[in-house]
């Protein structure tokens, strides 16, 4: 497909994806409060509309009607820019995420992805790092000390964890040899001819998934990494001075970010739109235009549903974590990022690289056994990591108390 139909199809897909993302954001704010309620043995919002679904609209109306405040000390252009920057990266990121199997249309096969960029998830990493500007600018331009502190904390945290986020995807590149996102998805399906692995990457790379997930949590500034907000310490950090719709935009940005990260986890590790244990949906378009498999509208819809369910589950886990774990202390956060995650990811990359080298050397064909071998290696790595983390208790800020012990015992 090229020319005018391509432009029209891309426009439709872009608008569709954007609209669906925003709708999903609305649902996510509702789901978050419901889940929070359930976890705390409450029922959450359930009075506006059927099972409380219209609560989101009521909140939206309230936020639009509220007064917009502009602090006297605010630096105006940046103060207005920050909320826009908060929404932008998250919504733009969704462009490289494939939602479902290609749909047959009268104008040719249309892939369900807004932009099949050849730089694939490098784009994700590049755009994702813009998010830090929203936090930093919002904090600095508000002209309030709490906002500034929140902004500084936020930018330091996001930059630290970006390293781990990017590195946690390296094993994925080692396995796929390609950064194009649709290619990564089809690698997780079963195709003849040795190109694909036939299993979701959650099996051969589940430690990698864990790293990506933790770094993703930190990137989206959600608990237990909500340093920039920290309402008990910083009021609400970088968006303290924002009100009404501008505040809403930060919230929309946060939820859009969560959904995007959920979609990315799905695409990279949970097989994207692949329906498990069924090969009927294994459809891909080869570079020379040859179509493998039999695309149909029904299959596209089914895969779309599969993708939605998986993303929803990942987002649900995000919320579950948020309402369980308490916030880290700042030094613990930095320890975790630089002293644990970074090292662990680097070692993990080495291990996976060596394992792949060995498996290729043994001449094992890609597929079930290949994945099983990597899975075993992952199990070992996970066991060692958990053992170390358990014994050395990195995250409790053990270094501080160890230093104090040494000092108390008459050293230093």
């Amino acid at each position: 497909m090229s020319g005018a139909p391509f432009v029209v199809a891309t426009a439709i897909k872009a608008i569709g994806a954007f609209t669906v993302l925003l709708l999903a954001v609305m649902l996510a704010t509702y789901a978050e409060r419901r889940i929070a309620g359930f976890i705390q043995d409450r029922s959450g919002p359930n009075r506006v509309g059927p099972i409380g679904l219209l609560q989101v609209i009521a909140d939206g109306l309230k936020n639009i009607l509220k007064e917009e405040t502009l602090p006297a000390q605010a630096i105006k252009p940046f103060f207005f820019l920050a909320p826009i920057l908060a929404i932008l990266p998250a919504t733009v990121l969704i462009a490289v995420v494939p939602f479902g199997a290609p749909v047959p249309t009268p104008w040719g096969l249309t892939e369900l992805i807004v932009a099949d960029a050849s730089i694939g998830f490098l784009y994700v990493l590049a755009i994702g790092s813009i998010g830090v500007y929203a936090v930093a600018l919002g904090g600095w331009a508000s002209g309030s000390k709490y906002s500034l502190l929140g902004g500084l904390r936020g930018s330091a945290q996001m930059i630290s964890y970006e390293v781990a986020l990017a590195l946690s995807l390296v094993p994925l590149i080692l396995l796929t040899g390609d950064v194009r996102v649709p290619e990564i998805v089809s690698m997780q399906q079963s195709f003849e001819g040795g190109a694909a692995y036939g299993t979701w990457f959650v099996l051969p790379l589940f430690v990698g998934l864990f790293f990506f997930f933790v770094a993703g949590l930190a990137e989206t500034n959600r608990l237990p990494f909500d340093m920039p907000e920290a309402e008990s310490e910083l009021i609400t950090g970088y968006h303290t001075e924002y009100s009404a719709m501008k505040f809403s935009m930060f919230m929309i940005g946060e939820f859009a970010h969560v959904i995007t990260v959920g979609a990315l986890v799905t695409v990279f590790f949970l097989g994207g739109w692949d329906i498990p244990f069924w090969t009927g949906d294994d459809i891909r378009v080869l570079d020379n235009g040859v179509v493998v498999g039999e695309p149909s509208i029904l299959i596209s819809l089914l895969t779309l549903a599969a993708f939605t369910v998986k993303t929803g589950l990942v987002v649900g886990v995000f919320m579950w974590i948020r309402w369980t774990l308490p916030r880290f202390r700042y030094d613990q956060l930095m320890d975790l990022g630089w002293k644990f995650l970074l090292e662990a990811v680097t070692v993990y990359i080495l291990v996976i690289a060596l394992a792949i080298l060995a498996l290729e050397g043994l001449g094992l064909p890609r597929g079930g056994w290949y994945a099983a071998a990597l899975f075993t290696i992952n199990l070992v790595v996970a066991g060692i990591l958990i053992g170390l983390a358990d014994r050395k208790a990195w995250i409790r800020g053990g270094n501080v108390s160890a230093r104090l012990t040494r000092a108390a015992e008459g050293g230093e």
Partner: protein, 165 residues
């Protein structure tokens, strides 16, 4: 180093983030999936009040609709917060009745002494609590309004029933 810092060396099994986090996640999951929610869906689902709940007053009436009150003046006397206003009057048969009888439910502390002291069992407290109003004046119940109340009256304490003490 200035001062002395006390270092609590907890056993590693207690200090481990991994174990604590896993335990926490399983606890919240259990609560999330538990269908029994503690929130009472209030307007749809009302409180079950005890028979001795002391709430909004209610005046008992005779069959012909007259209030049973004989304007003896005991309840305004006993009321600890002075919220009962009584103006007695006498009809042509020489029977006393309350020309004005008002209770300010806003000032009332629902002690129940008016009900206990009433010689003709006219004034009662009731098993009822939904009496929000938009103005303070509306909280002053006059005789007519007291007679109109139709909720259950509060049961008095039965000294023989030790369990209800």
């Amino acid at each position: 180093m200035p001062g002395k810092v006390k270092v609590v060396n907890r056993p590693e099994s207690e200090a481990s983030y991994v174990r604590a986090a896993t335990k926490g996640m399983s606890i919240t999951l259990k609560h999330m999936l538990d269908p029994r929610k503690k929130t009472q869906q209030y307007p749809d689902e009302k409180w079950e009040l005890a028979p001795r709940h002391r709430g909004t007053h209610r005046m008992e009436v005779h069959e012909d609709g007259r209030a049973k009150c004989v304007a003896c003046g005991l309840c305004p006397t006993v009321c600890p917060v002075n919220c009962i206003k009584l103006v007695p009057a006498e009809d042509e048969n020489g029977e006393r009745f309350a020309a004005v009888y008002e209770i300010d439910e806003f000032r009332c502390i629902f002690c129940g002494m008016c009900q206990e002291v009433c010689p003709v069992e006219a004034i009662h407290l009731g098993v009822h609590y939904e009496n929000a109003e938009y103005s303070r004046e509306r909280w002053v119940y006059d005789l007519e309004r007291l007679c109109e109340q139709d909720h259950d009256v509060t049961a008095l304490w039965d000294p023989a029933d030790k369990a209800s003490q």
